[in-house]
């Protein structure tokens, strides 16, 4: 997992990632915050295989997550705010149920 240099002096803000609480210094992107706690941002809608942030600048779309209920947000282009609810995207959606189908 990536770690923050310990000498950073910023106030900490809280967010949840798939229901778990985490704390990071303020002013970083959602993708950066995710990388302090996890490696996977989404599962491919083609194969269901795991993906994580790759370019951190908005050109690869591998960091797509659901933020406060809004899906397909590029985590690297959004600044983390206090209390944000981040959810990794588990693959392709089922058109009938609106939920995500299990991938084999």
């Amino acid at each position: 997992m990536f770690k923050t240099l310990t000498t950073v002096r910023r106030n900490l803000i809280r967010f949840t990632l798939d229901g778990q609480f985490h704390q990071v210094p303020a002013g970083i992107s959602v993708a950066a915050a995710l990388l302090t706690a996890a490696r996977v941002s989404r599962r491919s809608v083609v194969s269901g295989r795991a993906r994580g942030p790759y370019c951190m600048m908005g050109t690869c779309f591998d960091c797509l997550v659901c933020i406060d209920g809004e899906p397909n947000q590029q985590a690297c282009m959004v600044t983390l705010r206090e209390g944000m609810k981040i959810e990794t995207q588990p693959g392709i959606r089922d058109l009938d149920t609106g939920t995500t189908a299990d991938m084999d």
């Binding site: 240099l5 950073v8 970083i28 992107s29 950066a32 990388l35 370019c55 951190m56 600048m57």
Partner: protein, 443 residues
């Protein structure tokens, strides 16, 4: 920033649309708000950006941050998304300064979580003061990889290894350009300084690396490669790849200006005149987005493009414009002198331009190099037809990670030139936008 400031200084009404939250682009990310207690570890070139951003903020410019431009047309109408709402803006003149992106470095397994670009590593360091775990492996070629290594060492990262993929065969070609490169003594000195600091650190550096691939089940677990005839495997969860940067072209392509293949830089770039004017009247393109030239040269090009706008809008006459440009061009020439040398010594190995069959070329739609080669053997004319056959290029990244590779593979199989094979046809929106956001269109 430079183009905007130049125009504003001559009394022109200027708006700057920035997709990032703060000014500085990628190179000067977070330079005016660094989370690092000691940003000097990032180097003097980065800190130079502080003054640039400060000057920019003081200029009389309408600055829109977090502004995603999703369309630009030949009448200079801009469609931009800000705060969830889409707006249309008209302009008398446009300067596109979209910058560069990492050149995709497709290797088998590059899609595994834990594989990232060197640029991503720099962004995390600059904007979040974050460093990777100590088993990190850096792989690739080029000054930015060396810079990242040096910054990581200063930040206390225990780099496990640096895998240098620079082909030995680049050297004779590069030597030709060395004399001209000596005009840029400071660049050469900087480069040598980076190499020396890495040598002093005792981080293992493997040379002439080939057959690079990333392994893991769910996430990255190991990197395998060959170096000078010997096979190696390094366990790691973090791999940073870099083989150079290429222009971000989608904005230029959506207005259908002339785009040319640059053989020396192995990339597409817009056709421009000496005032950075594209083939579309009223639209100029400056900086790394026009062709890779580096930060200092980009700033100088921005000034030229700004001057051209001021002249075209009538606030300067031709002689005044030309006079102001003299010093800028002289400085620009000095900064451009190093490019032929850098472009040839760090020319990417064919392994990354036309990767092996089991490499995932289109990350979004998961299309392999083998599939593209098969489509090419079937006689597919170019990337747009390959798109129809395989869906490559149809994912959210809109070809940013696969376009060059697909064209190179078709060229390789069919024995054609890349310039002949072409690029994906780019259509708006050039960034994803919801129907709801489009529907909120404000004027």
């Amino acid at each position: 920033m430079a183009a905007a400031q130049c125009a504003a200084a001559h009394g022109v009404d200027v708006a700057l649309l920035d997709e990032q939250e703060r000014p500085g682009g990628q190179i000067y990310r977070s330079v005016d708000d660094s989370p690092l207690p000691d940003p000097t570890l990032l180097g003097s070139d980065y800190l130079y950006g502080r003054q640039q951003v400060a000057d920019f903020r003081n200029a009389d410019i309408d600055y829109f941050s977090g502004a995603t431009v999703w369309n630009l047309d030949r009448n200079r109408e801009v469609s931009v998304l800000v705060d969830g709402k889409s707006r249309g803006l008209g302009a008398d003149r446009i300067v596109i300064a979209a910058g560069a992106q990492e050149r995709p470095m497709p290797v088998p397994g590059w899609q595994l979580p834990g594989v990232m670009t060197a640029g991503a590593g720099q962004i995390l360091l600059k904007s979040a003061a974050m460093i990777p775990p100590d088993d990190v492996v850096l792989a690739g070629s080029g000054p930015l990889l060396l810079l990242l290594a040096s910054q990581y060492l200063k930040a206390g990262v225990g780099i496990q290894a640096i895998l240098d993929t620079t082909p030995r065969s680049n050297r004779p070609g590069a030597a030709r350009h060395l004399i001209r490169a000596l005009e840029s003594v400071s660049y050469l000195a900087k480069g040598m300084g980076l190499i020396a600091s890495i040598r002093r650190s005792r981080v293992p550096v493997y040379k002439e690396v080939t057959a690079l691939n990333a392994h893991g089940d769910e996430v990255l677990e190991a990197v395998r490669f060959n170096s000078r005839g010997r096979d190696h495997e390094l366990p790691t969860g973090t791999l940073m790849l870099h083989i150079g940067v290429i222009p971000q072209l989608h904005l230029a392509m959506v207005v259908d200006c002339e785009i040319r293949w640059d053989e020396a830089q192995s990339c597409w770039r817009p056709g421009l005149d000496q005032w950075l004017c594209s083939t579309v009247p009223g639209i100029g393109i400056a900086g790394d987005g026009a062709g890779i030239v580096g930060a200092q040269a980009s700033q100088l090009q921005g000034q030229l493009a700004g001057l051209q706008c001021v002249y075209e809008l009538g606030a300067l006459n031709r002689d005044q414009r030309d006079l102001k440009a003299v010093a800028i061009r002289k400085s620009l020439d000095k900064h451009l002198a190093i490019r032929p040398f850098l472009d040839s010594i760090y020319r990417p190995s064919p392994e990354f331009l036309t990767p092996v069959d089991d490499t995932m070329v289109c990350r979004c739609e998961e299309v392999s190099a083998g599939e593209i080669r098969e489509i090419a053997r079937l006689g597919c004319q170019g990337p747009n037809q390959a798109k129809a056959f395989s869906r490559c290029g149809m994912g959210p990244c809109q070809g940013r990670q696969c376009g060059s590779t697909v064209a190179a593979l078709i060229a390789e199989v069919q024995g054609r030139k890349i310039s002949d094979v072409g690029y994906y046809r780019v259509r708006p929106p050039i960034r994803p936008i919801t129907l709801g956001q489009m529907g909120n269109l404000e004027k």
